[in-house]
């Protein structure tokens, strides 16, 4: 059977996300409880988490989480890493045995800094340098897969039910100001750990429920800008779209959202002149970045999270607020199980984002 990257595998899913907008950190217990509740929305073939604020002691370094098929490829990849990065610290990612989580690959974690002179030589900044060389590992080093590469954040994922994956990675021992989670229901998968979600790149992480029908249009668009969609998954291309718009093209995040879930032409016509010109320009230039088909996603980055539905809300998404915490999930029950008395619960409209960012001055 072919794995992700060799074949495109559609999947249904459960997603959940929690942020404390004041930047207070809390353990992974709540998010595990939330995603566990939606057990029926995944089928044991993939689960994962993204956690922000977990490595404050290394917050200026890129935290790389890498899966290896064997120690031979690990050695090869490490020499490539050492050539391009200063490795500050390295070790395997701690896990505990959990029934139902089997066939684990080698899992290593590195805290690195790009070789500054190399980035300078290529006239690119550190983010771009890191992204480029990590994409190269995923593309060229068969059997090695970088599944997390941000600063002060990390992704934890694998084959199994998401709750089991969370306990396997001992997420209750980490403290984060923001957690997102994903339970996967692929229609066909060989159960490759790298194929589980979230998908991440630098500080971006995406968990996603749905199957986007614009996939190939989006893929061929981002690939013009140097990305390589090695996994052929929706989350991968969504992440690259946000990275392209926000990091490479310098677009404000709220504008990028209007590109990804562009307003309908009829709605644009109803706006005032200035907004109309702007929205029209965005749809004109970035028509291939529109994401179509059913989806709900939670996009995480260092500033917080953005939950988003497709333009006509073909997937469920519920949001809630309690004090400084904002919750989003595929089902309301997944919020209520960890927050039984929220101040507000709402169901965002299609194309209407839930923007839950850290307050200014909040500790990251």
């Amino acid at each position: 059977m072919l794995k992700e990257g060799q074949v495109r595998i559609p999947s249904g899913c459960a997603i959940s996300g929690i942020i404390d907008t004041k930047g207070n950190r809390f353990s992974g217990q709540e998010i595990i409880k939330s995603i566990d509740l939606m057990h029926e929305r995944s089928n044991g073939l993939g689960g994962g988490f993204a956690a922000y604020g977990i490595y404050p002691q290394y917050k200026d370094l890129y935290a790389l989480h890498i899966f290896y098929d064997n120690s031979e490829i690990k050695m090869k990849t490490e020499s490539f890493l050492a050539e391009h990065f200063d490795i500050e610290n390295a070790g395997n990612i701690p896990t505990r045995p959990v029934p139902g989580v089997v066939n684990k690959p080698l899992m290593w974690r590195y805290f690195v800094h790009p070789r500054t002179y190399m980035a300078r030589e290529e006239f690119i900044d550190e983010d771009e340098f890191t992204a480029r060389y990590l994409i190269r590992i995923n593309k060229e080093y068969k059997g090695a897969y970088v599944f997390s590469s941000g600063k002060n954040m990390g992704a934890f994922k694998g084959v199994g039910y998401p709750g089991d994956i969370g306990r396997f990675f001992m997420l209750e021992t980490y403290d984060a100001y923001m957690w997102t989670a994903h339970g996967r229901f692929p229609t066909n998968t060989p159960g490759w750990w790298g194929g589980a979600h979230p998908f991440t790149m630098l500080n971006w992480s995406v968990v996603h429920n749905g199957e986007i029908s614009s996939y190939d249009a989006n893929r061929r668009f981002v690939e013009m800008f140097g990305y390589k969609c090695t996994l052929q998954t929706d989350t991968e291309v969504i992440t690259y779209l946000f990275d392209l718009l926000v990091r490479k093209h310098g677009m404000p995040i709220e504008k990028a959202i209007k590109v990804i879930v562009a307003p309908f032409w009829d709605d644009i016509e109803r706006e005032n002149k200035e907004i109309k010109i702007e929205l029209k320009a965005m749809r004109t230039v970035y028509s291939s970045a529109l994401i179509n088909g059913p989806f709900s996603i939670i996009l995480g980055y260092e500033k917080g999270m953005i939950a988003l539905n497709d333009r006509i809300k073909l997937r469920s998404l519920v949001a809630a607020r309690k004090d400084s915490k904002i919750y989003v999930a595929s089902e309301e029950s997944a919020i209520k199980i960890i927050c039984n008395n929220p101040d507000k619960v709402w169901s965002p409209k299609g194309g209407e984002p839930v923007i839950a960012l850290l307050e200014e001055g909040a500790q990251q």
């Binding site: 495109r8 559609p10 999947s11 249904g12 229609t187 749905g210 199957e211 029908s213 614009s214 996939y215 190939d216 249009a217 989006n218 061929r220 668009f221 690939e223 013009m224 800008f225 490479k248 093209h249 310098g250 677009m251 404000p252 709220e254 504008k255 562009a262 309908f264 032409w265 009829d266 010109i277 702007e278 029209k280 320009a281 965005m282 749809r283 004109t284 230039v285 970035y286 028509s287 291939s288 529109l290 994401i291 179509n292 088909g293 059913p294 333009r311 006509i312 073909l314």
Partner: protein, 501 residues
């Protein structure tokens, strides 16, 4: 020469029982196939003159007429077909280059028919266009690499001029001269009602039609007929015509008999003079010359009009297209070799160029590899026969399509492929006033509107079926296509997987 070996192509059969000798057929046939013998009181036919345009058949009130292939068989021979033999009779009789009209009639593969579309099942829902918005609007023109916003989040990038099409279809370039004024009026009015565009071709723009300017593409071709400042500024965009799918590498020739007073003043040439468009533009001998023409036209229109460049689909179309993008054009129009024409040398029409499906797939892929696909719009033409062809063209990578033959068929063309004679009984490819008035623009423009709206509905249905609600998300989305009855090389060029993969 005394002995002519030629024989008729068609036989007109009259059912004498039904015929009441009303003589409509005599009146309607500009080719003078039907004639009435006053002495014998009989209606007779001259089969040699019949082009099979169906005019008499359709208008016969008692449906007493049928037209058949002339029942004359040569001894069977797979190499020397009756067509091959007839062409030699014709050329040896008259010593002429053979001319043909409309697209090639030879049997070449139509790759549209070898592609199948996808639809949603279970893992994602299809979308019902009757209940949900379903967008088919497209914006044609040059796009900046990216948009920039200032520190307050306000857009600072200016967007170059664009053409908005409510439906991703335009009417192909067909000149006033090659088709009638009434046909042009129908195209112009339909475009204006639909929010799309028609194209003047190289025939200038009649004064009466300036009011449809925002739905008009004005063409600049090698003969420069009817080109002046006001004309260039009259349309929504300007198209530089380099080539045409039916006759790549060949110019055009409108015979003097079609140049009456009105055509003469629109084209700015003397009445009765032949209008000859040379094969190359005499100021374009390479890509850098094209750039100069593009920018001359931009200067004269103060950078308010997008400039399209139309080429025929030929072997190295991808690199030509790349050059056109870099030369500063706003859109490329590629016309495939099955495309139509008023007149082309038969040998050129049937042997030069490549199918539009391959040209489109190869150009789109090449421009993406160079990272410049998003800079321009890509339009295609040359046998777009129905809405499914449009959906497939979009999935291969086209922004929109142009239709010529299909539009003429809606106006009544019966594909007799005899446009060169200038005696079009349907009032389309003719300048004879009595024939032109047979095409009533008030009535016929509605047929065009009906056709395009029907196609748009079908496009929306197919988009919805794929779980897509904006045509933007189909453009270049080749995963929505699968090949059938194609070999590996064909799949590779089209960038498709095989059905079942």
């Amino acid at each position: 020469m005394s002995l002519n070996f030629d024989f008729p192509d068609f036989e007109v059969v009259r059912n004498e029982k039904n015929c009441n000798k009303c003589k409509v057929c005599v009146l309607e046939c500009s080719n003078k196939v039907h004639f009435y013998d006053e002495n014998k009181k009989t209606l007779n036919v001259n089969n040699s003159k019949c082009v099979n345009c169906h005019r008499c058949v359709v208008l016969c009130p008692l449906k007493a007429l049928t037209i058949k292939k002339y029942p004359l068989e040569f001894k069977e021979n797979s190499n020397w077909t009756s067509r091959a033999i007839k062409e030699i009779y014709k050329q040896s009789q008259r010593g002429e280059v053979l001319l043909s009209s409309m697209g090639t009639s030879n049997k070449f593969p139509v790759y549209w028919d070898k592609m199948l579309l996808n639809a949603s099942q279970v893992t994602n829902p299809s979308i019902d266009p009757l209940r949900e918005p379903m967008e088919t609007k497209v914006i044609i023109g040059r796009k900046p690499e990216k948009l920039e916003f200032n520190s307050k989040g306000k857009l600072v990038t200016e967007i170059p001029p664009q053409v908005e099409l409510n439906i991703p279809i335009m009417f192909s370039a067909m000149s006033y001269g090659s088709i009638s004024k009434n046909a042009h009026e129908a195209l112009a009015r339909a475009s204006s009602e639909l929010g799309i565009c028609y194209n003047t071709g190289e025939g200038g723009l009649n004064k009466d039609f300036y009011k449809y300017g925002k739905n008009t593409i004005v063409q600049v071709a090698s003969g420069r007929f009817g080109v002046h400042k006001e004309y260039l500024n009259a349309g929504a965009a300007i198209e530089i015509k380099i080539g045409q799918g039916a006759k790549p590498g060949i110019g055009g020739h409108l015979p003097g008999r079609k140049v009456g007073k009105d055509v003469s003043s629109t084209r700015m040439i003397p009445i009765g003079s032949d209008a000859i468009s040379p094969s190359p533009h005499h100021d374009i001998y390479s890509i850098e010359d094209l750039r100069q023409l593009i920018f001359s036209l931009k200067e004269v229109t103060e950078y308010k009009k997008p400039i399209f460049v139309k080429i025929a689909a030929v072997h190295n179309a991808p690199s030509i297209a790349s050059g056109i993008v870099r030369a500063g054009a706003d859109a490329i129009v590629v016309d495939g070799f099955r495309g139509g024409t008023g007149a082309a040398p038969t040998r050129v029409r049937d042997n030069v160029g490549i199918p539009i499906e391959f040209a489109l797939a190869a150009i789109d892929q090449r421009l993406r590899e160079e990272g410049i696909r998003n800079h321009i719009s890509l339009l295609v033409s040359g046998t777009i026969r129905n809405s499914a062809d449009i959906v497939k063209a979009t999935a291969l990578g086209a922004d929109a399509v142009c239709i010529g033959t299909a539009a003429l068929i809606a106006l009544g063309c019966h594909m007799c492929q005899s446009c060169t004679t200038g005696k079009c009984n349907w009032g389309i490819a003719t300048q004879e006033p009595d024939l032109v008035k047979r095409l009533n623009p008030d009535m016929m423009y509605k047929k065009l509107v009906n056709l395009i709206l029907a196609w748009n509905n079908e496009i929306q249905e197919m988009l919805g079926g794929m779980g897509i609600n904006a045509i933007d998300s189909l453009r270049g989305n080749r995963l929505m296509l699968r090949g059938i009855d194609l070999n590996e090389k064909e799949l590779e060029i089209l960038g498709l997987k095989y059905a079942g993969q």
